[in-house]
């Protein structure tokens, strides 16, 4: 391991540990986990991530002293010709911000998961998978660290693929469950395939970057791109657009967002950690990391902003029509990611990163809170059926909000923190969400009006669907026996929620208007960014809209709570629109029609025409087999018989002839043999004599 000088002098040299600790944790659990039991497994996994968090904190403290950061070389990785990709870790304010956020939230979610999974594996009927879960979880953290810390496209891509793998593994954690017994597996596959499309874009972008700028290291690529100037404009635009494709895959933007709602099939901590707080933000992080390129490609930036804004609004509308508590949050996540993408598209990287961090707090909180609610309902269902009904059967859906109601009185702590999270998401001051969302809206109002309108509408919808959810879940009377029997969860689950709630409350302090702490902090990496002045108008509009939306929600869902089996009150007035919202605008069906059916038909046609007729019937049978037969026949008749056989036959004939000649020497007469001996003696003596004479 080699360290740069700055790293050797400071704490930066420790940064590889941020990857090493989770790897160590997963290795320990891999080897010993099953033998040592749940408590140990959970402790090891949580401790590994907590130690990584400690390392991240150290890095942050070191950065306070040396804001310029460092590049820590771990190993020479790939050297082929002029291509040289070392495995180096980039320590700067951006990556360390991500590290702090990821490891911090991860630590809390690990602790939560230690409690949650204890129950979950039992409800799902396979306690043995407890260890496997934490191995995957630690693996995810390690991959995420590689993604964040990489100083080149390739190292980032390694992490990118690593987290994709973990996502796939964890979505399909209960692979034998779900619709028809394959629903979860299909969900994992969907996530994987959607991500592949994005990864394809990322790879193309990487190839283009290398072709044009002869490097894969961020720094070098940026330098070369800037040096190339306008000439490289097209190339940079292409690169950034393909990067955007990658980002839409990972960060669930239009058109590749469809996998994220399905990803809710994974256990709730997975939804919270991977599909809300960390992995899905990787696209945002990647765009931020390559902001130099996006600066050079205004067209791409606009596209990014529009894609983000459209996604934010589109996903928000869908969230309104959902009944699954986690699906609502999933579309909310997509929507909020749209906010971030829009922000970075507009060049407001600080705002994007700010929202990324605060969103991580409150969305993780909301997911974990929903998990707490679900667990509570499961417990209730379990208690109501006296332990002999199947708690996870098809008849009862513990995630359906229509089966809940009145949870606020039964799970007070959960209700409290959930309320905080919801308000933060809705953008009610002074909670974290308000500040971060406000900055984005402010930036949009300044630079891009369509984006502003879309985002504002999305913000209104956000407040509405969060109000709808809170009222449906926590207020009113229980609409099922399970909900009626629900009870609060143990502290191991609740305490992380409290911590996250505190962060959601106070997270806005990171980048208060006027202070811009985060902005100054990230300046070292992203360069000075002129933040727009705080606008009372923008803030007021958004706050007013949010309050209005909440009021609306209260009028619809809070004043007269839903009764058992009563349809959604807005379904009737909205009619077909609600159907569209509930069915997610038939996007999946559209994709099915647009891509899948054609793809399957094309595949079938190709299978028949190309594989069967062309390759198998014609190429294999006519060309290969027949050619091989012809070739072997020629070899057999033209080569083997005359040359090989001929040679051995001739050899045998020679041996026979020579042997026949020599046989005459074998007369059987002793005196004859003696003559040969004498002849040999005479010959040898002659030889020696001649040699001595010459």
């Amino acid at each position: 391991m080699q360290f740069s000088e700055a790293a050797v002098n400071g704490w930066f040299g420790l940064v590889p540990l941020i990857i090493a600790f989770p790897v160590a944790g997963l290795l320990v659990n891999l080897v010993l986990g099953r033998r040592l039991g749940e408590r140990f497994t959970g402790f090891v996994a949580s401790a590994a991530v907590a130690l990584a968090f400690g390392v991240a904190v150290l890095q942050g403290l070191a950065l306070l002293e040396h804001p310029e950061g460092a590049r820590v070389l771990v190993a020479d990785w790939i050297t082929i010709g002029e291509l040289s990709v070392p495995w180096a870790i980039q320590v700067d304010t951006l990556s360390v911000t991500m590290m702090l956020m990821v490891t911090g939230v991860s630590t809390l979610i690990h602790i939560y998961a230690a409690g949650y999974m204890h129950d979950d594996v039992r409800f799902q009927g396979d306690p043995g998978r407890y260890t496997r879960f934490f191995i995957f979880f630690n693996l995810f953290v390690a991959a995420m660290m590689i993604l964040i810390s990489g100083d080149s496209f390739l190292t980032l891509f390694v992490g990118w693929e690593g987290v994709g793998l973990c996502s796939y593994l964890l979505i399909g954690f209960w692979y034998e469950k779900g619709k028809d017994g394959i629903g979860n597996a299909l969900a994992g596959k969907k996530a994987f395939v959607a991500n592949r499309i994005g990864d394809f874009g990322f790879l193309i972008a990487m190839f283009l970057a290398y072709t044009n700028f002869h490097s894969l290291t961020f720094e070098t690529v940026f330098e070369h791109a800037e040096a190339a100037g306008p000439e490289a404009g097209l190339a940079v635009t292409l690169i950034t657009l393909f990067l955007l494709l990658g980002a839409t895959g990972k960060s669930a933007q239009i058109p590749l967002f469809v996998w994220l709602p399905d990803a809710m099939a994974g256990p709730t901590p997975v939804s919270a950690l991977i599909h809300a707080a960390t992995m899905v933000t990787a696209g945002v992080y990647m765009i931020t990391r390559t902001h130099v390129l996006f600066h050079l490609a205004p067209v791409s930036s606009s596209v990014v902003a529009l894609v983000g804004a459209a996604t934010a609004f589109f996903a928000a509308t869908i969230a309104v029509g959902q009944f699954d508590i986690k699906k609502v949050l999933a579309y909310s996540t997509i929507s909020q990611l749209g906010f971030m993408v829009a922000a970075v598209g507009m060049g407001a990287h600080v705002a994007g990163m700010f929202h990324l961090v605060t969103h991580a707090f409150f969305k993780a909180l909301l997911f974990l809170g929903s998990g707490s609610v679900i667990l509570g309902v499961e417990h209730g269902h379990h208690a109501a059926t006296h332990g002999h009904g199947d708690a996870h059967g098809g008849h009862f859906d513990p995630q359906d909000m229509r089966n809940m109601g009145g949870m606020g009185t039964r799970m007070k702590a959960t209700f409290t923190v959930y309320l905080i999270g919801a308000l933060a998401l809705a953008g009610i001051p002074p909670l974290a969400g308000f500040f971060s969302k406000d900055e984005i809206l402010l930036e949009a109002q300044h630079t891009n009006l369509p984006v502003y309108v879309l985002l504002t509408a999305a913000a209104f919808l956000t407040a509405f669907y969060m109000g709808r959810q809170v009222f449906m879940v926590f207020f009113g009377k229980p609409r099922s026996t399970a909900a009626a029997h629900a009870k609060e969860n143990p502290p191991l689950i609740v305490l992380p929620l409290v911590a996250l709630a505190a962060l959601s409350l106070l997270g806005g302090a990171l980048n208060l208007p006027g202070l811009h702490t985060l902005g100054h902090w990230l300046e070292h990496t992203l360069g000075a960014e002129k933040a727009p002045e705080f606008s009372w108008l923008v803030a007021g509009v958004s706050t007013a809209l949010a309050l209005a939306a909440i009021t609306l929600a209260w009028r619809i869902y809070g004043r007269r709570p839903l009764a058992e089996n009563q349809p959604d009150p807005i379904a009737a007035p909205l009619g077909g629109l609600f159907q569209a919202l509930n069915q997610k605008w038939w996007v999946d069906e559209f994709y099915e029609w647009l891509v899948l059916r054609r793809y399957v038909r094309l595949s079938a046609w190709l299978a028949h025409q190309v594989d069967t007729i062309f390759w198998h019937n014609w190429f294999h049978d006519s060309v290969l087999a027949a050619g091989f037969r012809r070739g072997t026949r020629w070899l057999a008749e033209g080569f083997d018989l005359p040359v090989i056989d001929g040679a051995s036959a001739a050899l045998a004939r020679w041996v026979t002839d020579i042997g026949g000649g020599l046989r005459r020497m074998q007369s059987g007469y002793v005196r004859n043999y003696a003559v040969y001996v004498l002849a040999g003696v005479v010959l040898m003596l002659s030889f020696f004599l001649v040699r001595s004479l010459s």
Binding site: Y669, R671, N672, L678, V682, L685
Partner: protein, 172 residues
């Protein structure tokens, strides 16, 4: 031509003549007798070459025992006449040519260049070739070979007895 040379040449001539006669004789008994003569001639040469002990051993063992044995067998078998029957056509010619070539080669080597030590040019040690001198070397340096040869003789004796034993007259 010194008297020594004449003596040597005479003995050499006798030796060669007896050897040739041995080969040429049609009767095996004559062959044996010529060989005895040859051996005695060589024994005399041994005497002249200061190898008195070996000369006596030669006469005693070779002429007196081995050749008697030969004669004994020849007479016992009654096959003193040379075997009749078709001879190999070229065997005799080739053998004679090769033999001549061998003699020519060795003769050239021995007589063309240096003639070697003149045998009287070096003063002889006292008692060279006497039974004492030979015995002293034989029973010191060559003790092991001597014992080996004695074993060999014993084995040969046993072998000869076993080979020629007539089992029909056994136990008489």
């Amino acid at each position: 031509m010194t008297p020594d040379l004449i003596l040597f040449l005479a003995l050499a001539l006798l030796a060669v003549a007896t050897a040739v006669a041995m080969l040429a004789s049609r009767s095996a008994v004559y062959s044996a007798l010529f060989l005895v003569l040859n051996l005695v001639t060589v024994a005399i040469l041994y005497l002249l070459l200061n190898a008195a002990f070996i000369a006596m051993v030669q006469v005693t063992v070779y002429a007196g025992a081995i050749m008697v044995l030969f004669l004994f067998v020849i007479m016992l078998l009654g096959s003193q006449q040379a075997a009749v029957g078709p001879d190999l056509p070229w065997q005799r010619t080739v053998s004679l040519v090769l033999g001549a070539a061998l003699v020519a080669l060795m003769g050239y080597v021995l007589l063309a260049g240096s003639r070697g030590t003149l045998l009287t040019a070096t003063a002889l040690l006292e008692g060279f070739g006497s039974p004492q001198s030979v015995g002293r070397v034989l029973f010191s340096e060559y003790m092991v070979p001597f014992e080996a040869v004695s074993t060999l003789l014993l084995a040969a004796m046993v072998g000869a007895i076993v080979l020629t034993r007539d089992e029909r007259t056994e136990g008489r």
